[in-house]
């Protein structure tokens, strides 16, 4: 087997092992399926009447933001899963096998894409029930979901790197909360860009979470009168999102693989 084919095979075997856990570990099911439903319902009904979104119903406008937020939070799962693996005996078995060095990481980040797909499906159904509609074409909508998934995949590599450095699963859950909470709230996920003050507004405009939200919001046809900003990032949200995706993976995938080697050779 060539090195590349072997890396793909090994990554896939590890991904399958992670996917089996969806049905075996109830906490995963809650994280992947139940919490997204809760987010949709909470935001739709708590903020639903309070926030003005010109030209579009808030609930319809909101859903892309919840997708974005859930996808970014989902990456925590990658970090937590790896942090857990590092402490369990199974990592010793993996290390004693003639398998690809990147397999544990490739397997984890790939299986988390599947988790994200499940989350998106559940959220889309819940959204549909509370009034979300896809106003553009079917292919545009698929492109919107795909963009969310590749963005989530990129963030997974950041969290993989972090997960390999932390001493326990609890640490990663807390640490990521401190970073991801502001990242998703200081964005256009829940509140339109135009309603932020002049200090926060540029942060919102150039925040990649705003871009991926804006891009999918456009592709679903839920934007209303416009992004509420002239910033290049929000005028060209797809390009700006892809720029981040490529940048993050190029930087953090090698960092994570390096960290994996360091952590496992102690």
């Amino acid at each position: 087997m060539s090195t590349m084919a072997q890396a793909v095979n090994d990554g896939w075997v590890v991904a399958q092992r992670n996917l089996i856990k969806i049905v075996r570990v109830p906490e995963i099911l809650v994280f992947v399926l139940v919490s997204p439903i809760m987010f949709v319902l909470l935001f739709a009904y708590v903020f639903g009447g309070a926030i003005e979104t010109p030209g579009v119903n808030y609930r319809e406008w909101l859903i892309a933001g919840i997708f974005g937020q859930t996808i970014v939070f989902g990456a925590t799962f990658t970090g937590a899963g790896l942090a857990e693996d590092m402490q369990k005996g199974i990592i010793d078995r993996f290390r004693s096998l003639p398998m690809s060095n990147s397999a544990v990481l490739v397997g984890r980040t790939s299986s988390d894409v599947v988790y994200n797909v499940l989350s998106l499906i559940i959220m889309a159904i819940t959204g549909f029930i509370v009034g979300w509609r896809i106003r553009e074409g079917f292919l545009d909508a698929i492109a919107g979901f795909a963009l969310l998934l590749v963005f989530g995949y990129a963030i997974s590599w950041v969290m993989a790197w972090v997960g390999l450095m932390v001493p326990s699963v609890e640490v990663i859950n807390n640490a990521s909360f401190i970073v991801i909470m502001p990242l998703t709230f200081v964005s256009n996920a829940f509140v339109p860009t135009s309603s932020f003050n002049s200090v926060l507004k540029p942060v919102v405009e150039w925040n990649p979470v705003s871009a991926v939200t804006q891009a999918s919001r456009d592709l679903f046809g839920n934007t209303g009168v416009g992004p509420g900003s002239d910033a290049w990032s929000l005028q060209h949200p797809v390009a700006y999102t892809l720029f981040w995706v490529v940048g993050i993976i190029a930087m953090f995938a090698p960092l994570a693989v390096r960290q994996y080697r360091l952590t496992t050779s102690k």
Binding site: V25, S96, S265
Partner: protein
């Protein structure tokens, strides 16, 4: 075995030369040499913190030594770790199984990561489950298994690719006597099949029962090397041990033993148990002791000649006993 045919006849299946590993100010390995010929079992015996696990990790590519060389099945472990890994089955001190997967799923996964292909990986998993008496639980997640079952599964995992070299790091630590006995049976079978085995243990009895050759280590270096019998011989000859019916006879018995003893007579058990090391004429000494007991009307429950145990060996070699942690 194809591996042996390409190797020089004289080269051992497992060898380590001058292994050194330092952690900050602790020298975990201080120049360790090991050699295991094909088809033999070497036990690495030592207390906690002696460097056993560090040695195993260096030999199995999991750890880079600071100095020294390691070869397994003719492969330089440091130069080609991937090739070495495919020749070694490692079963560690803590069962390396995924607790959410079943025994079958664990073994199939390992087989596929050895690149056996899906069909062969499945067949091999089934085969190993039967051999290790795990079929009964094969469809339950392993977190429901007992310690002994998990260790057996872990050992099965190490054997998935039928490696010529098997390395077992404290295979029975923490197991109950019955599980330990089961594990010993399995290990004996492996050796019967022609595998070369390196095993670490802190149980002297285990090394005695399983190994052809024993290396005793302490503070990361070899302090003794030989067969169980050779090591026992190093501590001197045999001992006479006596258990009296009544402690009242203690003094009389002690006087008798003193006539044949090399060194002091040890008295324990409230004066009822006596022991003494004797010289080369152990059988004659025993006879004289019995005759003297008869003459002096010393009543005994039990009298016997005993060879020194490896515990005695350890004590005489290191000055501390084997269960004492010495970090």
């Amino acid at each position: 075995m194809p591996v042996s045919s390409v190797m020089a006849m004289s080269e051992p299946m497992i060898s380590a030369t001058g292994l050194v590993k330092r952690y900050k100010d602790v020298e975990a390995l201080a120049g360790l040499d090991l050699a295991v010929p094909e088809g033999k079992v070497l036990a690495l015996l030592g207390p906690n913190g002696a460097g056993k696990t560090t040695a195993v990790r260096c030999l199995t590519t999991l750890l880079k030594p600071d100095a020294g060389a390691a070869r397994v099945a003719g492969i330089d472990v440091l130069a080609d770790p991937a090739a070495a890994k495919s020749k070694i089955g490692l079963s560690g001190q803590y069962a390396a199984v995924d607790e959410h997967l079943t025994a079958y799923e664990n073994l199939v996964m390992i087989g596929r990561l050895y690149h056996l292909g899906r069909t062969r990986a499945r067949a091999r998993a089934q085969e190993l489950l039967e051999r290790f008496d795990l079929t009964e639980f094969a469809s339950r997640p392993t977190k429901t298994y007992s310690g002994g079952q998990r260790r057996r599964l872990d050992l099965a995992g190490a054997l998935v690719a039928a490696p010529p070299v098997i390395v077992l790091d404290e295979p029975t630590t923490g197991l109950d006597p019955r599980s330990r006995q089961l594990m010993w049976d399995v290990i004996r079978e492996l050796v019967g099949d022609g595998a070369t085995l390196l095993l670490t243990t802190q149980y002297l009895e285990e090394a005695d029962v399983l190994a052809d050759d024993i290396v005793v280590i302490d503070h990361g270096r070899e302090i003794a090397h030989g067969t169980a019998d050779e090591l026992k011989a190093q501590t001197g000859g045999q001992r006479i041990e006596v258990v009296l019916v009544s402690p009242a006879d203690s003094e009389a018995a002690s006087r008798v033993l003193n006539e044949v003893a090399v060194g002091e007579v040890q008295v324990s058990g409230g004066g009822r148990e006596l022991g003494a090391a004797v010289g080369d004429e152990a059988a004659g000494d025993l006879l004289r002791v019995l005759q003297a007991f008869e003459r002096d009307a010393v009543k005994v429950l039990d009298v016997g000649l005993r060879r020194p145990t490896l515990d005695d060996v350890f004590l005489s070699l290191t000055g501390h006993d084997s269960t004492e942690a010495d970090q």
